[in-house]
């Protein structure tokens, strides 16, 4: 392994050629950096598979154990519980995907890769933007697999058909993207994967369960109903559900997407600011 074979002169000639490239555009930077993250996943799909386990367990649990809810009064008539729950599971899984963006940022801040990027003439923003683009793509694939599994194994066949399901996938992707900024902001600020995971569970569980995800809102205790109504995830779930049912409600959809954009608008600058801090 010692003593490189190349002679000094050849070496100097090759290393010394100063490339005369003109600066890359932010678009190229985002494309190159998100391509890197996605290629890693293609080569090592374990992360994708692992991230599907939790939602599938939830699917089995809720699908089998609580399907009796569908027979309780107040539950929309003529709808299978699986059709009711799956759009919600898509949205809550997208939320956990957003958390993974944050975790990825903390590991890269730690292993020095980000230090190299920050010493290069590229925009710091494109590093985070690329992360979020890559994670939305990953999340979209994961969620599609989930919907497919649900259709094949659990009889998921909502009235909205494929278009409806694609619509709920899109809503879920928006949730993943905007909440990804929240977690990336925490990640850039705290820089510790362990703390981020804890904060992640603290944030995601109330958002997930105190929502319209698993039971209709009237099925929740009074004190939770108030929170479930303002919970941004509730709106996204309602929007996704409406799409799957083939009855998209534009007001609900606008509230959900608008809320998500607002969250991203607040947290993306915070993420960038903390990220630039050494």
């Amino acid at each position: 392994m010692t003593a490189t074979v190349t002679s000094g002169d050849v070496r100097t000639a090759q290393v010394g050629a100063r490339p005369n490239w003109s600066a890359s555009s932010i678009l190229t930077q985002v494309q190159v950096l998100s391509g890197r993250s996605l290629r890693t996943l293609v080569r090592d799909p374990r992360l994708v598979i692992l991230s599907l386990i939790q939602p599938l367990v939830l699917l089995i649990l809720f699908g089998q154990v609580f399907s009796s809810i569908a027979k309780t009064p107040g539950f929309p008539q003529g709808i299978g519980y699986i059709d009711f729950i799956l759009p919600a599971l898509l949205v809550t899984t997208a939320l956990t995907s957003g958390l993974q963006s944050g975790v990825a940022v903390t590991t890269e801040l730690r292993n020095g890769l980000i230090a190299r990027f920050r010493s290069m003439p590229i925009s710091t923003g494109s590093v985070l933007l690329a992360r979020s683009v890559a994670d939305v793509c990953r999340s979209f694939v994961e969620l599609s697999v989930m919907a497919l599994v649900a259709a094949l194994l659990f009889g998921f066949a909502p009235p909205g058909g494929i278009t409806g399901v694609l619509g709920s996938l899109a809503v879920a992707a928006v949730v993943c993207w905007s909440l990804g900024w929240v977690f990336m902001a925490f990640a850039s600020w705290l820089r510790q994967p362990e703390i981020l995971q804890t904060i992640g569970s603290l944030v995601t569980f109330p958002l997930m369960f105190a929502s319209k995800a698993f039971v209709p809102i009237s099925g929740l205790p009074d004190w939770l109903q108030g929170f479930a109504t303002i919970n941004p995830l509730s709106h996204a779930i309602e929007a996704a559900r409406g799409m799957a049912m083939g009855k998209p409600d534009l007001t609900v959809l606008a509230t959900a997407v608008g809320g998500c954009l607002l969250i991203a608008l607040v947290f993306a600058p915070l993420a960038l600011r903390s990220f630039r801090r050494p």
């Binding site: 392994m1 010692t2 950096l33 290629r39 230090a115 990027f117 290069m120 003439p121 050494p278």
Partner: protein, 312 residues
């Protein structure tokens, strides 16, 4: 090319750099020498725009690192103290990624990556994930990565720490060939031998302060001309030996092994003073030799708070 004046950096209560000034002329290598915690990485981080100084200024090619960061980043290449490559992708993909980010087209990036892989003797491992590389291979890839854009100024933070001797020689010869092509290099190291071999100028940093600077020869001259090295017989009382030498008006220091004592003297006649002093306290000597001052001596006399160094 690099110019630092009155640079101070505080981390809360820790003063990492205290009024540091030095400059590096274009095309030369400056060795920043210091123990762990001396402030070497802090200097490199400020120069590579990763950290803002608390006060003072630093410029690269006349560009201020705090206010003209973008222009500075076009001219520098950084190899940090800890590996700064992506473990999960291959060595070649790492280099292509960097070239693309620097504005190369796909073809140009591939060409540049392949050239550098050849030069750094990584062609065989090019397609394997970096996770499986040895320490030396990783370091070479790291060096290659900082050269992708053909930077004018290169920062190498402890480039050989933790490498086996063979890999270290490789890195040395690579650094030498970089300098031969006219790059300006700032290299930090804990090894005197490394600074002596690679650097034109040496700045010794201790607890955030510059304690000496100059060429290796100047530093040696400053510290004295000659020293007498005595090896004590096994089981000797080193403490008593040091006390006796001090009593004779000399300034002894222990070297890597506690049974070896370096004593600075003014002329060769002083060897008898050394031997007599040791004899007077009954310490037997198994070997006596003169030596020209080494950077070790410079280092030991300038950086208080640590006895022996383990530098190779």
């Amino acid at each position: 090319m690099i110019s630092i004046s009155n640079l101070t950096k505080k981390f809360d209560s820790v003063i990492a750099l205290d009024d540091v000034s030095f400059s590096v002329p274009g095309g030369s290598v400056l060795g920043l020498l210091g123990h762990n915690g001396a402030g070497k990485t802090t200097v490199v981080n400020i120069l590579s725009t990763l950290l803002k100084p608390t006060s003072g200024t630093a410029t690269i090619a006349g560009l201020d690192v705090t206010t003209e960061g973008d222009k500075v980043r076009r001219r520098i290449g950084l190899t940090g103290q800890f590996a700064t490559v992506d473990d999960t992708i291959s060595g070649r993909d790492n280099l292509v990624l960097i070239a693309r980010l620097l504005g190369a087209s796909r073809r140009q990036a591939a060409q540049r990556a392949d050239d550098l892989l050849t030069v750094f003797d990584l062609t065989d491992a090019a397609k394997r994930p970096v996770r499986g590389y040895s320490g030396g291979m990783r370091r070479r890839l790291d060096l290659a990565a900082c050269l992708v854009g053909g930077p004018e100024v290169i920062f190498l933070d402890e480039p050989t720490t933790g490498l086996d001797p063979g890999a270290r020689l490789d890195v040395w010869s690579l650094v030498e060939s970089l300098v031969a092509q006219g790059s300006t290099v700032l290299l930090t190291t804990q090894y005197l031998e490394e600074a002596d071999r690679l650097a034109d100028l040496i700045t010794v940093l201790s607890k955030g302060k510059v304690v000496a600077s100059g060429t290796a020869a100047e530093l040696k001259r400053e510290i004295g001309q000659l020293s007498v090295n005595t090896v004590l017989a096994p089981g000797s009382d080193t403490g008593a030996a040091l006390a006796a030498l001090r009593a004779a008006g000399l300034t002894p220091v222990t070297a890597e092994q506690p049974d070896t004592i370096h004593t600075r003297v003014l002329s060769s006649a002083d060897i008898t003073v050394v031997v007599r002093a040791l004899d007077s306290v009954g310490v037997r000597v198994t070997d006596v030799a003169f030596s020209e001052p080494s950077l070790d001596d410079v280092y030991l006399s300038l950086t208080p708070g640590r006895g022996a160094t383990t530098a190779a």
